[in-house]
């Protein structure tokens, strides 16, 4: 069990930079998500922690020990691959016992350990089968078994649910989280699925274009996005962006979008020029008192809620409202924002402006 500290780690492949100086800290026992679109550097980061890639510069600490240049076998970290990578020429039992055999553990102890792990994972009945014929879920369990059997300091998981079908993913993600809670081991989990990240993670690092965009709890990342990218990437439908020209001064509590005055959290930063007002769909209310008018273009019914798509003078807006509310296409409605949840962004840098709301939550790598 260990904490992992990533300190300005960088990885170049020739002239291509996969990860730019990134720093974050993974606390002991945390279920930590590395989230981002494909090609953002999250898997490279994971592989650097595991030792499958060596960083071009920077340091990685595992339990206070600098490990960035150690071979993987010296790091005591387990890795679960997306395609499972079970040894195809061995049966389930040998796959799971393989890491123990490398440590020179006694045969009897190996047997006991494998029995224990297979009981935890509920795979006792397939121990003597070849891995070739197993279902996706069983392969996943065997891969997990191989990872947990030697009780490593930390687990790395590279989209471990990516190869499973949708129905099974849900089940497996619960199983994974339960397993983590039971073992309490530090886990670093790579995914491109923001729902999975929000659902399972204690903390999330959002990466984009080789850069850490934000690092924090799922709540912070959702409610207090540090950049336009994070605000857009997290949440479905994503945050509404109202582009406008204007200025903000520190201490101000309103944003002036042309003649519209919109209440926002108290700002702690000056900015001017092209700005963006960001508001989540569920923080938009339809009311006649609203300062902004918009025309309803579509309504998507989602059961308990519905998504109302509207066109305003600042572009398209999506609101998530109770499905009991009756809204018709073509209606002209007033739009009101929940002031305390609004984030302002500087359009040119793409970064959030500091305010009462997000002060202290804008940690970037």
């Amino acid at each position: 069990m260990a904490e992992i500290v990533i300190k300005s780690v960088r990885k170049d492949f020739g002239s291509f930079t996969a990860v730019k100086e990134s720093s974050f800290k993974i606390e002991d026992g945390e279920f930590f998500m590395l989230l981002g679109p494909s090609g953002c550097g999250k898997t490279t980061t994971l592989r650097m922690i595991a030792g499958l890639e060596l960083p071009s510069s920077g340091e990685i600490f595992l339990d206070g020990e600098e490990i960035s240049q150690l071979p993987p076998s010296k790091r005591d970290i387990a890795f679960v691959f997306q395609m499972f990578a079970l040894y195809p020429h061995m049966n389930v039992r040998r796959n799971i016992s393989y890491p123990l055999v490398s440590q020179g553990m006694k045969r009897r102890d190996v047997k006991a350990k494998v029995a224990e792990v297979s009981k935890i994972l509920g795979i006792e009945n397939i121990l003597d089968k070849p891995v070739g014929g197993l279902s996706g879920g069983d392969r996943q369990r065997v891969a997990l078994g191989r990872a947990i059997v030697r009780e490593p300091k930390a687990f790395m998981m590279d989209e471990p649910l990516g190869a499973l079908d949708a129905e099974f993913r849900e089940h497996m993600s619960e199983e994974l989280r339960a397993l983590h809670d039971r073992m309490g081991a530090t886990t670093v989990y790579v995914t491109h699925d923001q729902l999975e990240a929000m659902q399972m993670g204690d903390k999330i690092v959002v990466m984009n274009n080789a850069v850490v965009e934000q690092f924090g709890t799922p709540q912070d990342i959702y409610d207090k996005p540090a950049s336009l990218f994070v605000a857009d990437f997290i949440g479905s439908p994503s945050m509404n962006f109202l582009n406008y020209k204007g200025d903000v001064t520190s201490g101000q509590k309103v944003a002036k979008l042309g003649e519209h005055i919109i209440n926002v959290p108290q700002q702690l930063e000056d900015a001017s020029g092209k700005l963006v007002l960001g508001v989540r769909p569920e923080h938009i209310a339809l009311s006649d008192s609203g300062s902004l008018r918009a025309e309803v273009q579509a309504v998507e019914y989602l059961g308990t809620t519905q998504i109302v798509v509207m066109q305003s003078e600042f572009g398209e807006l999506k609101a998530r409202v109770d499905s009991s509310m009756s809204v018709d296409v073509g209606d002209n409605v007033g739009v009101d924002f929940n002031a305390s949840t609004i984030t302002l962004f500087d359009q040119s840098s793409g970064l959030a402006l500091r305010s009462e709301l997000n002060d202290g939550a804008l940690q970037r790598g």
């Binding site: 071979p71 076998s73 395609m83 990578a85 191989r146 030697r150």
Partner: protein, 312 residues
């Protein structure tokens, strides 16, 4: 009547089956004829019209393994009765066995040189192919092309330089020299074939082994090699067939201690006239090791040929 697109009708099956079997029989005629000849007596082997039915004899094999001298009928009559069937066959031709022939020695040379160079080619080829497949090697593509380019002209084109070089280095007519030569010719084939096979093995297997606490070499040895067994087996067969059958260099570079069977077998002609059964016996025995080796590895060979066609 119903038709299936994928399943052929029984008539098509019957016709294609007949064609394949006919083709196989035609290609096998020379081989079968050689084997038949090896069991004929010298007069039967040159009789006209050729004999298809005959009384089998081991004379060819006896002649292959022995040297004989002609003796006068009086001497023959004064000898004690023959000790074994070989002696008896030889005496029927008014001769006695003078000693063993060089065939078994030459055959052994073929085995040493053929299997030795096959082992070396596959061993070095696997290591090189693994490196090309897994590591970032500067100019890897150019190196691979360079390796392949050694096969772009017939090896015999460089026979004279090699002959001179070998004489200078003292490698002429040595086992080591022939093993090195055949390895040099085979290694490009081995590297290219094996690289294809190793490329097909996902890297994750080795990475998993590295994470599980094994060194790079252990991961290669315990995880990659078993996965590449198919490729290694088919590569070995190709290498062995070349080294085993090679004739031109063997004639040029060997004459005594390291002479292989291919240049030796024709020299049987002329020792005691055209002894076709002995030559056929030599050819038949010479076929066996490659046949046995191929049959042993045939499962791998078939999988090797279709390898990579369907992704599992």
């Amino acid at each position: 009547m119903s038709f299936s697109v994928t399943e052929t009708s029984s008539r098509v099956k019957w016709i294609s089956g007949t064609l394949v079997i006919t083709y196989a029989l035609i290609t096998m005629i020379p081989l079968v004829w050689i084997m038949m000849t090896s069991f004929k007596t010298p007069p039967d082997s040159i009789s006209y019209p050729p004999k298809v039915f005959y009384e089998p004899s081991l004379e060819g094999y006896v002649n292959l393994f022995t040297t004989r001298t002609r003796v006068s009928p009086e001497t023959l009559a004064s000898l004690p009765p023959p000790e074994n069937f070989a002696e008896e066959i030889v005496r029927n031709r008014d001769m006695v066995i003078a000693g063993p022939s060089k065939f078994s020695g030459r055959f052994l040379n073929s085995v040493i040189i053929g299997f030795g160079s096959t082992f070396l080619s596959v061993f070095l080829g696997t290591l090189a192919a693994y490196a090309f497949s897994r590591f970032k090697i500067p100019l890897a593509d150019d190196l691979l092309f360079f390796i392949l380019s050694t096969r772009m002209m017939p090896p015999i084109a460089v026979a004279i330089p090699i002959f001179l070089m070998y004489r200078k280095l003292g490698l002429s007519d040595t086992h080591l020299g022939m093993i090195l030569l055949y390895t040099a010719v085979n290694i490009s084939l081995a590297v290219w074939l094996l690289k294809g096979f190793i490329d097909e093995i996902p890297r994750e297997y080795e990475e998993a082994a590295l994470i599980d606490g094994y060194t790079r070499f252990q991961a290669f040895y315990k995880v990659v090699l078993p996965q590449a067994a198919t490729g290694i087996a088919s590569t070995a067969i190709f290498c062995l067939i070349f080294a085993w059958n090679e004739y031109a260099f063997a004639v040029l570079l060997t004459s005594g201690t390291a002479q292989t069977a291919p240049p030796f077998i024709p020299t049987i002609i002329g020792v005691g006239g055209l002894d076709w059964p002995a030559i056929a016996a030599g050819a038949t025995l010479f076929l066996l090791p490659v046949m046995i080796f191929t049959v042993m590895l045939r499962k791998h060979l078939l999988r090797g040929i279709t390898f990579g066609a369907v992704r599992k």
